[in-house]
């Protein structure tokens, strides 16, 4: 063994899996194709890439684990100089949960709903260290405290469903730290959180890493987030290393085109439309609640949207933004208020709307996957509204389908494919074409880019902007992502706890003076610069000291 070895050395790692396509023979694919890196003790390496880049697969390989049918086919993973890939099952079990720990993306799913949090937090340490329950419980409470959890003494007595998502993610970090490991693999630990929660969890994780001196692999698709935490970054694409360097170098002077594209993502410019016309959509004093719950989800919400403009409704989970979309489409009847379209009131419930009302108002959803029937071809999916609204058949219908495919930048050969044969971005394009097929005046876009990788999402946003110019369609854009809002909106409504807290043209809403919530929201969006997190936290400390 060399002297001064790194904690983790990955040498020419190759990982594969067998795929079973619907109408082809099963075949092997390579997920990771010869990746090598060193991670010294106490350092943090960020693994960056889009979905399918192999970053999670590499992270799990450092626990000698392959998710699903994934197989490690070659290379070495040396932990403290030992190749764990050649260890026996028992030795591997001895590494997991003691030397290397894992923090998953969705803590809500990764905690067992049947057991108390404390039992789960100390479980791995009890299994491997032989320390007593009392000692470990004490250690866990100390970790809860240092991670900024409320009631550190008693929060461990609760069940996973009794704490919030941001708290669960911190408890999961405590669970990893409780074994006092050499290495922690963080797999997108803040991706599922709201931005204002993300910043706290991010700060807690970073402090914990600093205090304990544990080494970490930090996996994320969000370059701006990793930049706040990692010493080094490795950009991956299709299982290959694109670029590996210090965080400073990657963010400030990326050497590769792909890295540059990632750094410059969301640089779409959209001049704010300022012309004033008669509004297309008027939402007047809507109050709504779900059946069986007295608490209103929307309270006195009023917004307007002009033809061919984009209104972004922005807020965090539970703010009522999706409920507003449901009220406008007629899926949920409001208890008070009205929705007017082209100056005439729309029926509150779906059954009372005419076919033309339905045609004028189309919807695109977050999960393109489940918004399409997997047993129908693209032709059937796009063709259905053509027949339903315009009675098109035969040649006319085919011609229109091809026009629509062209407008979403897909070739005519896509008409006969099934959804399963399309990529995530292509599926969302087909959903856009389906909405366009009805020639609507308004399309409601419900988080249409949040399930997509940043570069793909950019493509979808550009497409939507082009289509708006050509077809003069208005968008009501429901999103939690401020970057998306900046890119596409003409006017913005910020929602918080069922109310519109700020509403107006983009230039006004995004310029100071801010109300408290909008300020918190805007300042929580990670920026693509090293040291951003430090600045924000320092600013917030100063403000709270000043008050």
């Amino acid at each position: 063994m060399e002297a001064d070895t790194a904690l983790l050395q990955v040498r020419n790692l190759q990982i594969g899996a067998t795929v079973y396509p619907p109408d082809a023979k099963p075949h092997d694919i390579e997920i990771v194709q010869g990746v090598s890196f060193d991670l010294p003790k106490g350092r943090v390496l960020g693994l960056i890439g889009e979905s399918g880049a192999g970053k999670s697969t590499i992270g799990l390989a450092s626990l000698a684990y392959g998710r699903g049918g994934v197989r490690i086919t070659g290379g070495e993973v040396l932990l403290n100089g030992h190749n764990i890939l050649e260890s026996g099952k028992k030795a591997i079990r001895g590494v997991r949960g003691s030397q290397v720990c894992y923090v998953a993306q969705s803590a809500a799913a990764a905690f067992n709903p049947a057991h108390r949090l404390m039992d789960q937090v100390i479980e791995a340490a009890r299994e491997h260290s032989g320390e007593s329950k009392a000692v470990l419980t004490q250690r866990a409470v100390a970790l809860f405290e240092s991670l900024g959890l409320p009631d550190p003494q008693s929060i461990g007595d609760r069940y996973p469903h009794q704490v919030s998502g941001g708290q669960l993610q911190r408890i999961m970090t405590a669970m990893a730290l409780c074994s006092e490991p050499d290495l922690i693999v963080f797999d997108e630990p803040t991706t599922a959180l709201d931005v204002t929660t993300q910043i706290d969890v991010l700060a807690a994780i970073r402090n914990a890493i600093k205090q304990t001196g544990v080494a970490a692999l930090y996996i994320s698709h969000d370059l701006a987030v990793v930049a706040q935490i990692a010493d080094e970054m490795m950009v991956l694409r299709n299982g290959l290393v694109v670029e590996h360097g210090t965080t400073q170098q990657i963010i400030e002077s990326p050497a590769q085109d792909y890295t540059r594209a990632l750094v410059n993502v969301r640089a779409i410019e959209h001049p704010q439309a300022t012309d004033t016309q008669k509004p297309l959509l008027e939402v007047n004093h809507i109050t709504a609640s779900y059946p069986g719950s007295p608490e209103p989800v929307l309270r006195d919400v009023s917004v307007q949207l002009q033809p061919g403009h984009t209104l972004a409704v922005v807020g965090e989970s539970g703010s009522g933004k999706s409920t507003l979309a449901r009220v406008i489409t007629g899926l949920l009847a409001p208890s008070q208020g009205s929705v007017e379209f082209n100056g005439t009131p729309l029926s509150a419930d779906l059954a009372g709307r005419t076919r033309d009302d339905l045609r004028q108002l189309q919807m695109i959803y977050q999960m393109a996957d489940v918004a399409m029937n997997p047993r129908q071809t693209v032709r059937t999916i796009i063709g259905r509204p053509l027949t339903f609204y315009f009675g098109l058949r035969g040649k006319d219908k085919s011609k229109r389908i091809h026009e629509l495919l062209e407008s979403i930048e897909l070739g005519p050969e896509y008409a006969d494919r099934y959804p399963a044969e399309l990529s995530g971005g292509q599926k969302q394009r087909v959903c856009i074409a389906r909405a366009l097929a009805a020639k609507p005046q308004l399309i409601i876009c419900d988080e249409v880019t949040s399930a997509l990788d940043p570069l793909i999402a950019d493509g979808i946003l550009k497409l939507l902007l082009n289509l708006q110019q050509r077809e003069q369609v208005a968008y009501l854009f429901v999103t939690h992502d401020i970057a998306t809002v900046r890119a596409i909106a003409d006017s913005i409504a910020v929602m918080y706890q069922g109310q519109v807290v700020r509403y107006g043209p983009k230039s006004e809403v995004l310029s100071p003076p801010f109300d408290d919530y909008t300020d918190l929201l805007l300042s929580s969006v990670p920026e693509m610069q090293v040291g951003w997190l430090d600045n924000v936290i320092a600013n917030r400390r100063m403000e709270s000291a000043g008050h």
């Binding site: 997991r96 720990c101 894992y102 998953a104 990764a110 709903p113 057991h115 791995a124 469903h161 009794q162």
Partner: protein, 318 residues
């Protein structure tokens, strides 16, 4: 907690309501059978006068609704009536029979339920390998054979050839516990083999379903052993579906043992019911039907309540 109690109270109220509905159905069912007890007691050659007299003595001329309520009133006071054929008090006749049936069912349940759970977990531990296939294959083979066939096989090999246990499961009051146990060994084994497969396969399927969850991956990445993962992390989340199937099978052990009781000449409820059906002894049939229905409803209700309690979201609300 109040939500949990409310749900449980709802289940119990529903159970009581269901039992009442079943009592109406049983009464109506025996009402619309052709012929009546007087006819069957006196036989084909009875004179119309004798029939009329007997009907008046037995109270068969009263309107059905009135007879139902007086029957129900009696039931609520623990009076199941008297058997028409021999005038014996039904409650005391059923008492010892029911005890025998419950004894047999309990022995079979105490063996089969833990065995099914353990085999199910082992099948998951070694899924798609030979122990899994052996467990699935053999339990499936036993459920595919008719129970009377298994019964006779056991009698032939274990009782006749090996002579370990008696072939006839005669029990009487003065028997000691171990003598009783030895007497019911073969019928209990038969029942165990009959109900094992269903419970074991449900355990396997329910746990395999849970094994897809993200928290199982968390447990694997903590370096826990496979059996610990199955027992500690998967099983507690699979309780609800398993309990439902277990209770259905427990109900079968009490309600569906007629064939096994006949084969082993075991003096339980099944035999008692069959005897009196053939004699058209309506009060006995009604009483037995109601006892069986009560067990069925009670066990399913218990399954529901255990499923509710096993859900931590209901047990510990926010």
């Amino acid at each position: 907690m109040p939500q949990l109690l409310k749900l449980i109270a709802q289940r119990i109220a529903l159970g009581v309501l269901l039992l009442l509905a079943v009592s109406v159905l049983i009464f109506m069912g025996t009402e619309i059978l052709p012929g009546d007890v007087a006819q069957s007691i006196l036989g084909q050659s009875a004179t119309p006068e004798a029939l009329a007299n007997l009907r008046r003595d037995l109270g068969l001329n009263e309107p059905a609704v009135k007879r139902y309520f007086s029957w129900l009133w009696g039931l609520l006071h623990g009076d199941l009536g008297t058997a028409l054929t021999n005038g014996a008090d039904i409650a005391s006749s059923i008492g010892s029979r029911l005890f025998n049936t419950m004894f047999l069912a309990s022995v079979a349940a105490l063996v089969s339920v833990p065995l099914a759970l353990v085999l199910g977990m082992l099948a998951v531990r070694y899924r798609n390998r030979w122990p899994d296939k052996l467990i699935s294959g053999s339990t499936l083979a036993f459920i595919s054979l008719p129970e009377f066939f298994i019964g006779y096989l056991l009698i032939y090999f274990v009782a006749v050839k090996l002579g370990w246990f008696p072939s006839v499961a005669t029990v009487y009051d003065s028997m000691s516990f171990t003598e009783r146990l030895s007497a019911v060994a073969l019928p209990a084994t038969t029942l165990t083999l009959v109900v094992l497969a269903h419970m074991m396969r449900m355990t396997r399927a329910a746990i395999l379903n849970v094994m897809q969850s993200a928290y199982i991956e968390t447990a694997e990445l903590k370096g826990l052993s496979a059996l610990k993962i199955i027992f500690r992390h998967a099983f507690p989340n699979a309780i609800a579906p398993i309990v439902n199937v277990v209770m259905l099978n427990l109900a079968y052990l009490i309600v569906g043992v007629v064939v096994v009781e006949v084969i082993f000449v075991y003096p339980g409820m099944g035999q008692y019911l069959v005897d009196h059906v053939s004699k058209r002894d309506v009060p006995v049939v009604q009483a037995c039907g109601l006892v069986f229905a009560a067990f069925y409803i009670f066990l399913n209700m218990a399954a529901d309540i255990i499923s509710i309690i096993s859900n931590p979201r209901l047990r510990h609300p926010k």
